[in-house]
């Protein structure tokens, strides 16, 4: 199979995945090469060029501090990924073992997980995040930790559901019959088979992380201006919308929608591709 044929085949099977990964890839490149692409420093103020409309020297205009909106939007992608990726890693590191053990062993751990999930379901997670970040301080690290921890149980639930389905499968029973200790059954036999289904959930949870972090910043408890974080930029720009300077909030808003949408499409597309039923019929 040629190197171009495989991506083409995947794109054909799931256009959703193709579009999602293209968006995410594009924004990731923007984040990596922000210093090269952005025309100015994101925090460089032009005191005599405050609230300039898009066009000319400032392609997307300037904000209330006279900072270039385009440069800030581009650098904002860094915050997007700086939140999404570590939060995603925390979710995997905590959620996967939790889900596997709870699903396979059941018992007290499973009970606790289910109760925690009930609590998380009952409270809007944004309220919890808000409370915790307000209490611990609004550094990037805190935001990442809070979002990662809050979402881990939800990720664990996805893994747990996969494990429950696998627990009674013949090959897991056969693994026990051959003499595998429980840790090996979980690590070697269940985990590699459960993880695939959970993979599709990861980008979706990462989209959630980006959204929550922006919301926190928008409310004013998250990362604060003048840091080029999209939520903070939207908050700053919101006051100018009434007076007609729409560009300050609109462009970071579009970027935010783009990244969230990209992650979501990526996740949906992945679950299309990984779905065993579709795989079976495609055979």
């Amino acid at each position: 199979m040629s190197t171009i044929a495989l991506p083409l085949g995947i794109a054909r099977r799931s256009p959703t995945f193709a579009v999602g990964s293209a968006i995410v890839l594009l924004l990731l490149l923007a984040a990596i090469f922000a210093d090269l692409i952005a025309p100015y420093s994101p925090t460089l103020a032009f005191p005599y060029e405050v609230l300039k409309p898009p066009g000319g020297k400032f392609l997307l205009g300037t904000d209330g501090n006279g900072m270039d909106v385009l440069s800030r939007v581009i650098h904002g992608t860094r915050y997007g990924f700086a939140i999404a990726v570590p939060a995603g890693i925390i979710m995997v590191l905590i959620g996967v073992p939790l889900g596997v053990i709870a699903g396979y062993k059941g018992g007290i751990l499973d009970e606790v997980l289910l109760r925690v999930l009930d609590v998380l379901r009952a409270f809007p997670s944004i309220v919890l995040a808000l409370a915790v970040v307000a209490a611990t301080g609004a550094s990037l690290l805190n935001v990442v930790l809070v979002i990662g921890l809050l979402d881990s149980p939800i990720f664990a639930r996805v893994v747990r559901a996969e494990v429950l389905a696998l627990r009674h499968s013949t090959f897991v029973r056969a693994a026990v019959a051959v003499g595998n200790p429980p840790w090996r059954v979980m690590l070697v036999h269940i985990l590699p088979n459960a993880i695939l289904g959970a993979t599709a959930q990861l980008p979706i949870r990462m989209a959630w992380a980006v959204r929550i972090s922006a919301t926190l910043a928008f409310i004013g408890v998250g990362i604060q201006a003048p840091a080029p974080e999209w939520g903070a930029m939207i908050r700053q720009g919101a006051e100018y919308v009434i007076s007609g300077e729409w560009w300050v909030a609109t462009f970071p808003g579009l970027a935010l929608i783009g990244l969230v949408l990209g992650f979501n499409l990526l996740g949906d597309g992945l679950s299309d591709i990984l779905d065993p039923r579709r795989k079976a019929t495609g055979k």
Binding site: A5, G9, G282
Partner: protein, 324 residues
Amino acid sequence: MSLLAVEDLHVHFASRGLDNQLRVARALNGVSFEVEEGEVLGLVGETGAGKSLTALALLGLLQPPALVAGGRIRFEGRELAALASGARDHVRGTRLTMIPQSPHTSLDPLTRVGDQLVRMQREHRRLSKAEAWRRAGEMLAEVRIPAPEQRLRAWPHELSGGMAQRVLIAMALVNQPRLVIADEPTTGLDVTVQAEVLDTLRELVRAHGMSAIVITHDLGIVAHYCDRIAVMFAGIIVEQGPTRAVFREQRHPYTRALIASTPKRIAERGFAHVGGTPPDLYALPAGCLYRDRCVQAADICVQPPLNMRFNQGHAALCHFAAER
């Protein structure tokens, strides 16, 4: 003239892989057979041989990616493919019907048994509800369901496996078809129940002068319930003929291997060397499709074998069919 004549039927599956390449599986490669009035034909073969696919093609129920790539199916003297879809539906509901496998998934769980039988009749014939209901009761009695009047009001989930299978037989026979196709009619049933269900089916087929095609992988069922046998391998019928004649003398090495594989024969004569994997339908070789597994294979087998005919319609697709 035969009730059903299938001539050189080809069915292909077209699919695209992850690499976007179009792949064609040649699932049926020239199936030809006939079913006479009042005859029960056993269609046997292993997984992937194309037994169920043949039935679906006969009924016109193939769904993409499967498509009929060639051949003719004549039923009661008419070319089925030439019929308009309405006429074909009518043939399928009244003249040529099917008993599906897995009774419990084939019945509508939300409709009472009697109503399903009524619906089956009224879809295809002008008939009052009361008349259809009366006939439904008679039909349940015919398939030996005890207390048929009460069973008409039963829900499918209230039926045991054997009862559900009998209801499916009643559904297939209620419009008095000329030919009924039974696809693995007793898989999932216990041995003791299987025999009784088959007895009932055979009696009804005989009593109404119908013909039947029984699709099965169980040579015991063919041996005792079918007049003729057709053995499929890789989408072709490699041997067919009267059941007794074929069991007495196999003309195709695959049939011979199949019969030698039954535990009874092994117990009598020991293990014969059999086995091997079925050919890859995506890349079928030229010539005899069985030659890679055949103990008799010789140079000539790269040429496609002719269908050699013997007495009483016994025929085999093998260069060496006349020997031994």
